[in-house]
């Protein structure tokens, strides 16, 4: 009937006792499944997020080399191709700087590139139909651009490109008729509002010869991939550049995902800890409940090892069931989560896809879930195996140590929950909107404040007037930044808007005092500029006096006063020391004082002359720390009233508009945003952008919601760990006092009194925890609620969080008391007393 082995008997008992523990089995399966679900979802979403981020990082022009290249002409290309460490190289030359002025291209950055033949294959430019361009009359267009401009993809169509070319040193518009020889499958589709048109390498020589013969030679180095660290690629490129006589290098910086991986690993560890606590408690309580059964089995002759085997058999079966169910449900959830993330408002959201990430999630989850189940059941199994019959008969869970641990665990969980809740829910999106935006809407010249690889494109005054005349505009303020409109690129880049002042006289004295210990800002380049031209380059801002009050909210005044009336007179300037930006209260400056007179020689780039003007210093200011709203930014040292600015720069000033700030009267912000974006798109100047409090608010709300979801989730998981320890302590305490309760009931204790007794034990632990949580939590929460994690401590939210924690503790105590009483009273008093005997 049975094989001659003691395993069968043990399995028989395991099977039999497992059937009896239905509630334990359900709880264990649920706990294991929940752990597996969480790990699966975190892994799935995590791997997808990393893949999305990595894909986004690779989505840049010249994806075949991840943007790595050397500046040079065909001669340099030929030298590069001969180098042993080079797999291949292709040249891409701009046919013009910026986007062709075609109305249909509005809202897009369109790069018109003349490329060598190998470029198409190496950078995934695959033909859908037609042919690659064969001469300078032909271009290749992407399928996405064709769709955007409403063209059907039939090769041979003619179109006119409105190019901006260099003629006699001037930028002139030149319409060029071309034929679309073919359409290609856009590998850069995922880059928003960005397109590339291609033609033959000779095109710029024919239509824009003054542009020069230099291009970017995209170079594929041996052994270099998209994951190779930027520093390594940069080193190799620099070496190659030197060897071939190139004019510099370019590459896309690889992202460092270390923090992301660490964060993901930390989250998985947290989930394993959560799973461990949950599963451990269930099995431990079960073993404590059956401790006398273990003892009697030992009396009859079951060894500790056999008891361990019996319990292990049960754990394995529950583990497999729970893990399979959890992974299945988790995979389903993953598909939903990935879909949600794909629709979220992150720049990399569109790169989310399921696929292999689900497989990784399943494998990782299975492994970690098995490890968690194994780890969490060990102690319980060891207890069951270790206990002797006599110990089992007298078994009590140890009191104080366990209680202290439970209290501390709940305290820690409570503190973390309160901190997370208060900081995240208290994140003030309106404060952030105010912090990032001075006015309701700002239309600004992006290049005025940023380095770009295109030359500066002035803002059209017609556009400014159009904006000012919009019916929803209540107030508008125009700002100007002095700029060299004929600036030459340095290493392929054009600097942000800088004016020039003669480094002489009053200014030199101020500069020498200001920079005596730090040296001139701009380092060697600034020194070279002074040596060559005698000019000091800096940010020179012109603004309406009426905007001063608004601007002043973002400034720290170190000396003098921001008097609007005086400023409007035109003879005053405001000075921002170079290092005063974000300097805060402790900034000391004595190189220039309010009330002092200073004569400055402003350089006119167009006329190559200086305009001298004497000003009285109205105030010495610096931008407030972490304030990004004002127009007086880092690098802007001289602030003039607009009248003086226009006086100095004359007609040129109309081409120096850096921003228009608008305050609106109505509430239809999305319509206003759309209207402004429409106007800027029609200008065909892709350097003009629109920002607004509305947009910032929306973006911050989305981020806040996501942070709150993740934060509250983590808070609840941590909170659960604390609660689980309280439950464990309470339950094992009561179960080991079954006889005591039976005896009390035999002499008259009612069920209600039993519930109260257990409840009071639980509430005592919660109360001690709350006494610790309130002060300690306040310190932690206040620290965590500061920027950048949050926007300030909100006492009401902290109080609410405390109430939630306290309520959770009370509900937990009541629930445990009621359930335990019910479970114990399933057997009669006599049965329980006899059990003890």
């Amino acid at each position: 009937m049975y094989e001659n082995s003691n395993k069968e008997m043990v399995r028989e008992i395991a099977r039999g006792t497992m059937k009896v523990h239905r509630l334990r089995n359900i709880m264990a399966c649920l706990a294991i499944a929940l752990t597996a679900i969480l790990i699966t979802v975190v892994c799935g979403a995590g791997v997808s997020t990393v893949k999305a981020l990595m894909t986004e990082a690779q989505m840049n022009p010249a994806p075949g080399t991840n943007g790595a290249g050397i500046y040079g002409n065909r001669e340099v290309l030929e030298k590069i191709e001969k180098q042993p460490e080079v797999e291949w190289a292709d040249i891409a030359r701009l046919c013009m700087k910026g986007t062709p002025k075609n109305k249909e291209f509005a809202g897009n950055t369109v790069k018109f590139l003349a490329v060598s033949d190998g470029y198409y294959q190496h950078h995934y430019v695959e033909l859908i139909n037609g042919t690659y361009p064969k001469n300078e009359h032909e271009i290749l267009m992407s399928d996405t651009l064709a769709k955007k401009i409403g063209k059907d993809m039939t090769p041979g169509q003619k179109m006119t490109l409105n190019l901006i070319v260099q003629e006699g040193g001037e930028r002139v518009q030149k319409p060029v008729e071309v034929t679309i020889s073919g359409f290609y499958d856009n590998p850069l589709e995922a880059i928003e509002d960005y397109e590339e048109l291609y033609t033959v390498e000779e095109f710029p020589d024919i239509y824009n010869p003054e542009l020069g013969d230099e291009g970017t030679i995209y170079t594929k180095l041996e052994g270099v991939t998209a994951q190779t660290p930027s520093s390594e690629v940069s080193e190799k490129l620099d070496g190659l550049n030197e060897a071939v006589g190139g004019n510099g290098t370019c590459l896309v910086t690889t992202q460092d995902y270390t923090m992301l991986f660490l964060g993901g690993a930390a989250l998985i560890l947290l989930l394993i800890a959560y799973g461990y606590i949950l599963i451990y408690n269930i099995f431990y309580i079960s073993v404590v409940n059956d401790i006398r059964f273990m003892g009697s089995m030992k009396t009859i002759g079951m060894t500790g090892k056999q008891i361990h085997t019996m319990l292990g058999w049960q754990v394995r079966r529950l583990g497999v069931l729970g893990i399979c169910a959890g992974i299945l449900a988790g995979t389903g959830l993953n598909l939903l989560v990935i879909r949600l993330l794909k629709g979220a408002d992150y720049s990399f959201s569109r790169y989310y896809e399921a696929g292999l990430s689900l497989v990784y999630a399943v494998l990782v989850s299975a492994l970690f879930s098995m490890v968690t189940v194994w780890l969490s059941s060990r102690k319980a199994l060891a207890l069951g195996a270790r206990v002797t019959p006599v110990e089992a008969a007298r078994f009590r869970t140890t009191g104080k140590k366990k209680t202290v641990f439970a209290v501390l665990s709940f305290t820690l969980s409570g503190i973390l929950f309160c901190a997370l809740y208060t900081a995240l829910v208290g994140y003030d999106t309106e404060w952030m909107a105010e912090r990032m935006n001075e006015a309701d809407f700002t239309v600004y010249q992006y290049h005025a404040g940023q380095l770009m690889d295109d030359p500066y494109e002035p803002v059209d005054m017609e556009m400014v007037k159009k904006i000012e005349n919009l019916d929803f505009v209540e107030e508008s303020y125009t700002f100007y930044r002095a700029v060299d409109l004929e600036q030459k690129p340095l290493y392929g880049f054009y600097e942000e808007s800088m004016g020039a002042i003669k480094y002489d006289g009053d200014f030199k004295k101020v500069a020498e005092r200001e920079f005596h210990s730090t040296g001139l800002p701009g380092g060697e380049e600034q020194k070279e500029e002074i040596k060559e031209t005698g000019n000091y380059q800096t940010g020179i801002l012109g603004m309406e006096a009426s905007a001063l009050e608004m601007e002043g909210k973002h400034l720290q005044v170190y000396d003098g006063e921001l008097d609007t009336e005086k400023f409007a007179e035109g003879n005053y300037l405001i000075y921002q020391p170079y290092y005063a930006n974000f300097a805060g209260d402790d900034f000391a400056f004595d190189a220039l004082k309010a009330g002092e007179e200073i004569t400055l020689s402003f350089y006119d780039y167009e006329k190559n002359t200086y305009i001298d003007k004497t000003f009285t210093v109205l105030a010495i200011v610096g931008t407030k720390p972490d304030d990004y709203a004002g127009e007086i930014r880092a690098g802007v040292q001289i602030i003039l009233p607009d009248t003086s600015f226009l006086d100095i720069y004359g007609e040129q000033a109309e081409k120096m508009v850096s921003s228009v700030l608008i305050n609106t009267s109505g509430k239809e912000e999305s319509k206003y945003q759309e209207a402004l974006e429409d106007i800027t798109a029609q200008s065909l100047n892709s350097q003009i952008r629109v920002s607004s409090k509305y947009e910032t608010r929306l973006s911050e709300e989305v981020q806040k919601n996501q942070k709150v979801c993740i934060g509250i989730f983590v808070g609840i998981v941590i909170g659960f760990i604390g609660m689980a320890n309280i439950v464990n302590t309470l339950v094992t305490n009561v179960l080991s006092r079954k006889l005591e309760f039976a005896a009390l009931q035999s002499i008259g204790m009612t069920k209600y009194q039993m519930i109260t007794n257990i409840f009071l034990e639980g509430i005592k632990m919660i109360l001690i925890s709350m006494i610790l949580i309130v002060p300690a939590g306040l310190i932690v929460t206040k620290a965590v609620s500061q920027y950048p994690l949050s926007t300030g401590f909100v006492p009401e939210l902290y109080t609410a969080a405390l109430c939630m924690v306290a309520a959770a503790g009370v509900i937990l105590s009541i629930a445990v008391a009621c359930i335990l009483t019910r479970v114990l009273n399933k057997k009669t008093v006599v049965e329980r007393l006899r059990e003890a005997e």
């Binding site: 049975y2 008992i13 009859i300 005997e837």
Partner: protein, 224 residues
Amino acid sequence: MKILEAKDLVKFYGKGESLVKAVDHISFSVEAGEFVAIVGTSGSGKTTILNLIGGLDIPDKGKIIIDGQDISGMKPDELTIFRRRKIGFIFQNYNLVTVLNTYKNIVMPVKLDGNKVDEKYIRRITSMLGIEKKLKSYPNQLSGGQQQRVAIARALSAKPAIILADEPTGNLDSKTSQEVMGLLKMTSREFHQTIIMITHNEEIAQLADRIIHIEDGRIVGGEQ
């Protein structure tokens, strides 16, 4: 032949002022096939003696030799295995495994030891105990007397050196008690089985071959 020798056993509980000498220098022996009753009032130390003999507890002093083996120095697992093979237990509250049927409860010690069940022997003892028709029933389907018979059968199934019975009739009515005692006596004779029974009931004890009286941890009558 002496199947059990207890030499100068001492067992304390507690410390300092609350120190209790549960067993105070007890020595006795039991011959093979003897039916011995250890009688004493509550707190006399009889249960402690049973625990010591059964390897459930370790004496603070003294030796216990069962079937020629000194169990006093054995490790817990060794004791468990020894107990499985050499000692059968009968408890007051039967202590049957509720998830196993009668047959499986009976053969459990044999199966736990990894040995083949002597079916003929099992049939004999179940028939003698009158539970041959209850082999597929579960403990909750049996009366108290029937459960105790199953317990006796389980104790006998491994053919132990000694059977230890702790108040075997404690939970039974008088008629059933008599029946069970009769069965114990019969199995002792039939299988030449050594039985040591703990009881506080003098009347029941009379059915034994020998009575050892215990009081305050000491034997006050009946040792060899």
